[in-house]
Each structure stands twice: as C-alpha cells, then as structure tokens.
Symmetry: C2
C-alpha cells in the first residue's frame, strides 16, 4: 500500500510520516482500496477490508466507542424547508464531535510509526479529541494554542491532562512552525487533513451508505467545510464502495463554509483552481474558520465532478442553529451551516430533494453562540413566585 498525492499522483511509502507532497505541496491520501462489508456491531470491523493498514487489535484497545451515530429524519425541518432533511448526528461521539473517528486512526498511525508524542494546533473539537485519545493511548500529548485563548476553552482540553502551550503568534504561523518542529522533536502532529485522519472519516460515509442500502435514497450530502479533510474522507468512502460494487450511484456533495472565512467557496465562485488565504477570518463558526485550508485545492478538484461549494452568513448560521434546536438537536454553529445552506437552496427553487446533513459537533461546546442567538431574538426570562406559579403556567 502507498500514499498518493491527490494532485500530481506521486507516490510515497506508508512507512514514512508523509503528509503532503514534496513536489506540489498538496495533501497525500492512502491509495484506494476495495472490499466487502462484514457482519459486526463495530463499524471498524464491518469495514475492516477498507483499513488493511490498521491493526484491528489496536482499534479495540484504543477505541472510545466512536462512530455508529444515528441518522435522524426531521419532519419539522423537512416541512420548513420544502425538502427532505436527514441529520447524521456526530455530536454523539466520545468527545462530542466527528473528529474522534479521524483521531483514532491518526493516533494508531503515530504509534505504528514509532512516535511516543502526538500533538495538534487547535482550540476546539480537535484539541479535545487529540487530548482524549492521547490519554487513552498513554502518549504524551501537546496542544498548541494562541495566547489569546479564552479560559473556558482551555478546560475541555487540559482536563485530559494534555500539555497545553500558549504561543504568542498567529494561528497560521503556529500551524506551519509546528509541522517543522514536530519532525525535529519527535511529535507527530495529527493535522486536520492528515491522510490517516481522513481515513477515519471514511466511516461516516460507510455508515451513510449502509443506511441508504436499507432503501433510503439521498440526493445531497451536506458537509461543513474548514480544512476539507472531513469532506475528503466521506467522499473517499463512497468512491471505494462504488469501485467495490457495493454502491451503484454516489450522491452529490455540498461543501458549506462561513462567509467570514470562505476561501474554498470564493475560489469555486471565481472558477479558479487554487484557494487564496483569508487575511482576517471572522465568523461565529469557529470550527470551520480555516483561513488557509490545507485540503482546499483538493476539495475544489473533487467537487468539479461531485458537487458544489456554498457560503452562508453568521446571521443565517445562527438562525439555522435555532431551527435545528427547535427540532431537538443542539449543534455548534459550524454544523448549522448545513441547514443555512439548504434554506438558501430552497429559496432558490430546490424542492422535494433529499439532503443529509453532517452535524459535526455539539452545541454545548459553544455556549457563546447561544447567547448571540438569544440576543437576536430579544429573549428574556420569565420570573414568578410560588404563589403566582399556577397562573403563570396557565397563561403560558
């Protein structure tokens, strides 16, 4: 098995810690494999044919029970949007985001390469996920963050006892420097689009395909998109299943970005092949605010054939987040971009289509967004006394 450059096709050995192509600096991916679906309750076992490079025993030892998340049909959202809405709830994962699926495979990769230290540059879902799986695996784990990180964002990371370092620099600078220093100091930085992280995300695609095989058809998979790693993983799963003869048709993909940081959407609109770095990202959807998405060009390449890219505003995101929670599901702003995008499409003539939204992370992680949302609505709390309670309940 080999790693292959997603752009020029140059191949690399699986025995090295390669992440990007030395020639064109584009992301590498594990070569496509074919296989059959097996019978098991555990998604990694059912699809073990598609992970010939990963030890099932290590998965058993290091798993925290990620994956096997539900697909929920929302009649309420379907009515509101005039299209059929299915929700893949990735908030029901060990650290309450989709990252866990990729982190597991990334950590196993680091171990196989002989690393005893792992790390990442993140203040959100990925930092928590890497910290949790690093703890589970007994690896020394380092999280690099900007020095202006709010205190409440530190707790869900350091609780796992990872080593958090505040660096006085811009996010992009820390990110690039960490990759160089990682190699020199023996730390495997499991980035947002690391080839093995992307392999982990394939399980989302596999689970969607399994669910479809029971008779549910969908037209579009809608994916919140920052770095591009998640979309790449889900699409790769569908492509591998198709070439394995398991699936005959692949749904279209819609990558959604936040307007305040939408380099992939901008390049898509302009019809150019390369993304441009965003100078000052500004959006409430922090989890997808990647100013220089490492898989941005590859997402553009893939979506030429397989779909499209959209951008939505913070106002639209907050309204969509509220629509979702009024249907019983509390997601973070990044995940709500999916519903905001479908709302836009429905206003532009889309109707009766079947959409499956990947709800990437839990809303409980970003309470500031709820404060914003409630402010928009002029929300106020009702107060009463024990004596007045009955009439308060009656009038309500």
């Amino acid at each position: 098995m080999k790693l292959i450059c997603t752009s020029c096709g140059k191949d690399y050995s699986m025995d090295g810690a390669y992440q990007r192509c030395k020639d064109c600096n584009e992301p590498l991916e594990v070569e496509h494999v074919k296989g059959k679906i097996k019978d098991s309750e555990i998604v990694w076992e059912r699809f073990s044919d598609f992970y010939p490079f990963v030890s099932q025993q290590l998965i058993g030892e290091l798993s925290l029970g990620e994956g096997n998340t539900p697909v929920i049909r929302s009649d309420k959202l379907s009515d509101e949007l005039g299209n059929v809405i299915y929700l893949k709830d990735e908030t029901q994962n060990p650290t309450w985001s989709f990252k866990d699926r990729g982190t597991l495979i990334g950590v196993i990769r680091a171990i196989k390469l002989g690393y005893q230290r792992i790390g990442t540059v993140s203040t959100g879902n990925m930092a928590a996920s890497i910290s949790a799986y690093g703890a589970r695996a007994g690896l020394k784990t380092t999280i690099l963050v900007r020095s202006d990180i709010p205190e409440e964002k530190i707790y869900p990371i350091v609780v796992y006892s990872s080593n958090l370092i505040e660096v006085e620099a811009k996010f992009g600078e820390i990110y690039r420097r960490s990759l160089e220093i990682g190699k020199e100091t023996g730390i495997y930085f499991i980035n947002s689009d690391d080839p093995f992280r992307v392999e982990g995300y394939k399980t989302i695609g596999f689970e969607i395909a399994e669910w479809m095989s029971k008779g549910e058809n969908i037209d579009y998979v809608v994916v919140p998109t920052g770095s591009g790693g998640l979309l790449r993983g889900i699409l790769k799963a569908f492509l591998e299943l198709k070439s394995s003869g398991v699936l005959s048709k692949i749904p279209k993909f819609i990558a959604v970005q936040a307007e305040g940081c939408s380099p992939i959407a901008k390049a898509y609109e302009k019809g150019v092949d390369y993304i441009e770095e965003v100078e000052e990202p500004k959006t409430i959807a922090g989890a997808i605010a990647d100013p220089s998405p490492p898989s941005g060009n590859e997402v553009l390449r893939k979506l030429k054939k397989h779909g499209m890219v959209m951008a939505v505003s913070d106002h639209e995101i907050l309204k969509a987040q509220r629509m979702l929670s009024k249907s019983g599901i509390f997601v973070q702003p990044a995940s709500a971009t999916t519903i905001a995008a479908i709302k836009k499409l429905s206003e532009n003539g889309y109707s009766g289509k079947k959409f499956l939204c990947v709800l990437t992370g839990a809303g409980i992680k970003v309470l500031t967004a709820v404060r914003e949302m409630l402010k928009l609505e002029g929300f106020s709390i009702q107060k009463t006394t024990l004596e007045e309670l009955k009439s308060a309940l009656k009038s309500n």
Copy 2:
C-alpha cells in the same frame, strides 16, 4: 398491563397519569414483563417485547438516536484500582446524558395520555433532555428552575425553545407544587423517577446484559444515584431478563451518592427503611444532589437483596473525575462518583473484581468542576513565543 406500587403492591390502571401510590406515597412501576430479544440495530426494537405498552412507530418518529452506547474497558483504571473497570459511556447520547432514554418513553407516555404540554423541574441534564424531546415531539415544554440559576446553565435548556420560568422558592417546594399544578393545568411533569422514565432506563440494563452475553462477566454495576430512578430501571431490566430465562445470574449493584447529599446512603448505614430529607445539600455532583429522593425508599428495599449504597466526598469525586479524564473520558462529577467508590473499595481489600460503571453525563456540561479540579492540582498554563517554541517542546 398495570402500574404497581413498589411498596404495598396496590395496582393502578395504565390509562391514568399515576406516578405515586395514593396509599403509601411510594413510586409506582410498570408490572414486570417477559420477552425475547429480537434482531435489530435499534435497541428499542431488539427489546420491543419488554415495551408492550409503547408504540414502536412513535419511538421511530420521536427518537433522537438515544442508546446503543459503548462499553469501554480501561486498562489504565484497572491497573490503578486493582480491579477490572468497564465504563458504559452514556455521555454519547443526544443531549449527552442517560436521561434521553427515559425522556423518550416519558414523552410517549404523555402523548398517549392526551397531554399537549410537558414539563420538569431541573437545571441540568433532565431539563435539557426534556426540552430537546419536547421540541422533537412538537409539545409545549415548561422548565421550572430556582431564581438563582446561573446564566450559563440557562443556555443549554432554552436553546431548544422550551419555556423556562424562574421561581422564587426552594427546589423541593417547586418540585412538589409543580406536580399539583401540573394536574390542574394539563402539564405532564416527567419527574426523575416517573414510571415510564424508569422504563426507558431499562435499555441500559438490556445493553449491559447483551454485552455480557458475549462472554464478559461482571460482579458489580456501579450507578450514580440521586432520585433512584436510574438504578431502578437498570435493575428492572436484569430482573425481567432473568425471569424471561435470558440471564441466569444478576450482578450486584452499588448505588453511589455524594457525601454532601446522601440520604439513601445514610439510611442504608443506619439500617432504617426510610430516608430522611437532607436540609442543605452541598456537593459538586449537582446531578445527583437530590435532597429527598423520590425513589429513595424503593432503592433501599431493592438493595437489601441486590447490593449496597456508598457515599464519596467532593474531594474524592474530583480526583476520580481526573482519573477518568486521564483515561480519555470526560464525565461530570456525578458520574465520577463511580470511580471514587471503587477506589474506596480497592483500599478496603476489593481486588480482581469486575466493575461496570454507568457514566451518566458529559463533563463538558459542568466546566466549573474542571476549574476546581485544576485548582486542587495547582495547574498553570505554559506560555512561549514562536522563537522559543522548539525548546519549549523539547523540554516538555
């Protein structure tokens, strides 16, 4: 089918909104049923024989994908505690606590009885869960809280658009008054030990039993205990499976309370049959701080045959929470009581036993506990510059 008083055995019709016995004021439960396990990916379908009073169609419509949570073996905790530790991770649920399983069945009950409004008195897991499922079902949902609720606790509840009312009164007063007013105003208050909520919790026991049937044996199920509803549900599942011939032996149960609010543990220690209300509950494990547990006496009755009750201090809870997160799992303080209890037992000679801990809710919901935990440890953040980053990583 009937509802039966857990104490005097008096029976009540399933067609009424009965929750407690009119004679002895003890909790009612649904009469025991027998059944077979079916083949399905959905736990409610596999165990549908044990829910003859619930419409599977309504479950399909109102489910948010609760249940089917993983059991994780922790070698690290097993080594540290000299016993084998399994963790049932209930934080991987739609609103990130076990409550969702009970809420679903409670909501279905309310609908069947003709209610269009539901409610609860809670500031935590249950309030969020009721709000989510109320939204999903399109019911008007009312959450009553004390007027001193901190603002950040309001967001995860009202995000679902439930109607939150602050009442100037003590928790116990609001709780008791709500039950009276509920009947008068047409609101079904789905309490912590509502008979149908307890039925929903049976799925935890069913899933544990299924997992055991693959060859894993356990000696003790360890359950964080506030109202007593959760323990009753899990134990009822085991008893029903045993009388159905599916299981031959039932593990022992350990109910764990926080010392700052441990009415059941106190009664158990004294050897009395009735709990006494705690005047001023004070513990970091807010999710189990029930000063007057409505199922307290019934838990005492059941544990005479099936197990025991323990209490652990806040200091022990915080240390156990840290042990768990250092193993990759971030729970709320109430859930950490399980590991604190096993630590105590291991210091008192227990070794080589197999414990399964029910991890009831996500740590991300109670960040104040992490602040306390880090304060205990004298935690401080490392800071550096881009230039010094390499040496900082090397020395770390």
